[in-house]
Symmetry: C3
Subunit: 472 residues, 3 copies
């Protein structure tokens, strides 16, 4: 029996003809495994065969900043949600009380992707059969807790049940990838691969930069006294990541700005960074230079290069001081790619060995810059609707603003980009529904035929991600 | 009998299932009074029980810059529309000729919100039963003129008939609020409250700044020789406004830029302003500093803070010289909130006493900045689609681009923002229709259930405005 | 029999009621000739009565950078598509092989305007009855080649069959307009007019500037030693263009920035340009100054002024070096009009003799700047959705974001803007379908009545372009 909150045709447009086509196209995706080429799930979930998710609040509330930020925005202190403080000070520890508070405020998520994902997850993953609110909170809590205690809710079992073909984590340059090794050594067949994310050693003005560089040196088994050493250490780690199955690197920056420094300039700048004597604009220029270096490395070693641009991190200093990073305080800024990427594209954009995927938080760049760029440069693909835009309307706008100019084959397929492992099926399903509905809209308006439409849904749901991330 | 130009299901999408739900939801709003927490109606309409609107042209054309700018853009001189010149030079005084010219060009308003509002107003407020054009102009004029001569078309009677629960005017810092006092003293029960708008004393480079400061000093009964005096005078006026029922302050700026000056910096800058010896950037920095001060005052006195950013005023110098402000010559510029508001939000954004409502004229900031900010900071709400965006498509884009990230409860409900009093029901009705149709779209796509939808329409039509503006 | 790939109701929304109205409105356009006031068709097609388009690849692939860029973006070298190299090096010359490669990759155009146009063109212009893919490629090639060999596929015959009322080319300031003269002298009745596009003599930092100025001097029969000479030569050429039927001038710039230089400043800057000793910002300021000059000339001589802003030309240096301009390497940048056009609009924006049409590649400026500007200044119109935005979704966004504020009568009607002559009917048909569907959406939602709708579709399909470009 279908629960009333999860209608089978959800997310499809109201027109009966379009809806029928959308249902058909969505149905074709049922047999396609999930490709998860970019995300933030902790690999330790899979290295320990008995890993437990903890309580329902541990699973669904405390670590999910999409959830906690919304409650916080309406005046609920993060302490009451059990979010740990950096100073170890007291926060709510009664997970039933946290859950009750969440349930009473679940109406805040009406019309949001978090609301959709959670409703899907409760119903389809945990089999909850009533709507979550203050009245049902206790029963729902008990139901989930009971499920979580069963072997079927160990991460490996869920990974298999979810039909995940491959799952990429995201890992610092110095990470020893111990959990990935354990997974590999365990004989379990799930494919969990790392992704090389060296942001911590690139951002030379961050307080932890020097210790991140030391960790990198240590991991690479090299000393880092120069820019040349630094580059060599990074190349060393990339080679190691590749032996561990990595197919991609990822770079998070506030702006998509690239510039080429001479060897001498780069060395001088790096020495200033080592001495802690940065000049104005050094950090910006170093990041811009390193993007060039990483593109060169990708050309050479074949790791797909991802560029996530546009988030001003830790905008709310008080929340950052008290609770640390990833608490919903990262706020986008306006983006620019055309001028900023020109040096990189001039050097590498026509090279068939490079695969560079661009992500933006500024939708104004979709039709204006990203689609024209990706519709021309062989090395470019547009990454899926990211973060705040990974929603029904957000993904629809993405399709409507990008595909006409870039063409579908210059898009990178779907990423769930999540740290919330049990939400993965919900996220893929929402994406597949949005795409099915979008493609059905093309069919019903006579833009493409049904044969083309069936190819397109397989592309968006499975093939494009696999091809773009070189997962074949 | 319904007039053909005003179909009962107007503004709803074409799908029959969605339309039926939209009709139901819109029907629920019929019993809800109108909350008008931000607007520009003249309070004198209500202090004088016999106030008359004048001729149909006085009411619907001459003071409405939405109307006159459109006619002007097609080559019709403002003089021919009876718009008064600053130099008192001759303009058309035959209101029947003005009306005729307007009616002959009413086709210019096809598909515009002014067209929708006027059609609603003519039909529902004045009972006009034929379409306005050159042929019907005279008859329609006579019909409206006859209605305006009746007691039912005195503002107080209309206020009651429109079921306005509260109406906020917008008033300069030095305004004695004489009309508000008279309303209060008259025993009439209509709730008309002031709003504190001190722009004239904040913009230190405007020609009239010095006299505005003198007026402020006079109103506050203080001398203003220093920044400290200036702040004290503003606090004094805010206290007075609060005694007169004010619940909010309002600030119009070209950019949402904030910065904290030290006391010495602020004092030095203010002294330069008093001496008329401004340095470059002084005006920009003073406004940025004053926004910080006004946020502090709002924290202390509880007035809701509104920030309207993004209009470059009086872009057309020739029209400004000849006819003055508010003639359709204010043109938006690109907006930025993430970096600009950070100083203010760092200091006050987590304070539950602050309620700060952000308005933008740059829709690119909806999903990129405003929704993420309001979806995190407890002090923030996103104001409704403003000015050029207060239209069917504009309000739809607002919902689609903001709610997924910010959540409905971080939006501020509807403002009619009008100086055209008789258009108020039309404006609220359009907004309620757009929201009913948007929510119906969520129901018909299975995103929310009908019970949630019924809560949502009551929120958008009534409760959110009342709560956000602390009107309870 | 209708081919399955070209359904009669294509591009209309799925709702049956809206679709029926859209079909009716689209039907009204069947009798309206095509107005082509801006494009890049080569006039020599019409001066030579026996002009041949060459092979199907010559016609549909090699010169169409919309087509070649998409194939290039997926890794197909331009050489394999027969695109000529600047150095005359070898490229594919077997046009059947080029066609085969194109056909095998035609799936890349799913959901793109090029896909729609080509499908329309193959079916309606050439009578192809099967879908283009690798299997059908040879047959389709033969079919088109056979058609092209017939007299019915000479450009003049097609011009008449397409019911083109007027076609404007785009021509350099120094162009002798020889083909235009030949057309006129030939007695053929087709109206082919030039458009004055002096970009090459305005961009003082381009390598070819000096020779372009020499050509201008030569064409004008004047020597150019000073800014005054330069202006006189331009005025001379505009007068000549007008004698040849020109109704408009066109200006392509990266930003809509205007500024007024004094005569002395302009002269000094021009002398630096002649000496090749430019100072920083000279090129930007000279372009800004020349826009003011061209507006003045338009006021005086009545040529409609077009401003195309926002393309960063030849972004991909490697492709530019190898293949030259117009290879899909022009990428948009963020736009600004409010501040940039203020000097020009202050001086000329209220002058009824000026008609200035603004084009943008940054859709964020539609609702934010262009609609408010055009909805106020008598001299302004918003040009149609341009280049990357000349698509089903792009044109829909244009209508939805502009008309509510600007009003339909401040838009300039449709331009096909194409160098691909046989695609003209497809492009106009797509535009007419999008508009029919948009207007039908207004009818079905009760925003306008059917009588208004019928006026609107005639405006968008025919009358606005004719009126705005003064083609009556």
């Amino acid at each position: 029996m279908q629960k009333p909150s999860l209608p089978p045709d959800r997310c499809f447009g109201p027109d009966p003809a379009q809806k029928e086509i959308a249902r058909h196209l969505h149905g074709l995706t049922a047999e396609l495994p999930l490709i998860c080429p970019h995300g933030h799930v902790d690999a330790r979930m899979f290295s320990d065969p008995d890993y437990s998710f903890g309580s329902p609040a541990d699973l669904l509330i405390i670590p999910d900043h999409y959830v906690t930020r919304m409650l916080y925005s309406q005046g609920i202190p993060l302490e009451k949600l059990g979010v740990p403080r950096r100073d170890g000070g007291p926060v709510e520890t009664d997970h039933r009380r946290i859950w009750q508070l969440f349930a009473e405020n679940f109406f805040l998520f009406r019309g949001t992707p978090s609301g959709l994902w959670l409703t899907h997850e409760l119903s389809e993953v945990f089999g909850v059969e009533e709507k979550l609110d203050g009245g049902s909170a206790g029963r729902v809590y008990d139901h989930i807790a009971a499920q979580l205690a069963t072997p079927a809710f160990r991460p490996r079992a869920m990974f298999e049940r979810f039909r995940i073909e491959v799952l990429s984590t995201t890992d610092a340059a110095a990470d020893p990838l111990a959990a990935h090794k354990e997974i590999r050594d365990s004989g379990w067949k799930g494919r969990v691969i790392p992704c090389f994310r060296p942001d911590a050693v690139v951002n030379i003005e961050a307080p932890g930069w020097r210790s991140a560089v030391d960790a990198l040196a240590n991991a690479a088994g090299l000393e880092i006294h120069s820019h040349t050493d630094f580059i060599r250490a990074l190349e060393n780690r990339r080679a190691f990541f590749r032996t561990m199955g990595a197919k991609a690197a990822d770079h998070g920056v506030i702006e998509a700005f690239t510039t080429e420094l001479t060897g001498a300039e780069a060395e001088a700048l790096f020495q200033r960074a080592l001495r802690g004597k940065l000049e104005p604009d050094d950090a910006r220029r170093f990041t811009a230079h390193m993007l060039m270096e990483f593109a060169r490395m990708s050309v050479e070693d074949g790791l797909v290069m991802q560029l996530h641009a546009g988030a001003l991190r830790n905008h709310n200093e008080a929340v950052f001081e008290r609770f640390g990073t990833d608490k919903g305080c990262d706020i986008p800024v306006a983006g620019e790619f055309t001028r900023g990427l020109r040096p990189l594209l001039t050097k590498f954009g026509n090279d068939p060995r490079l695969m560079l995927i661009l992500f933006t938080l500024d939708e104004a760049t979709y039709a204006r810059e990203l689609a024209p760029l990706a519709g021309h440069y062989p090395a470019l693909r547009v990454g899926p609707a990211w973060w705040f835009h990974d929603s029904l309307n957000g993904m629809t706008r993405y399709r409507e603003q990008i595909v006409e100019t870039a063409g579908l084959h210059n898009t990178a397929g779907f990423n769930d980009d999540t740290r919330a492992f049990p939400s993965i099926p919900a996220r893929h399903d929402l994406s597949r529904r949005v795409d099915a509905n979008w493609i059905a809209g093309l069919v019903v308006r006579g833009i493409v035929g049904m044969d083309d439409a069936e190819e397109m849904i397989r592309d968006t749901a499975y093939r494009l991600a696999k091809k773009t991330y070189r997962l074949e």
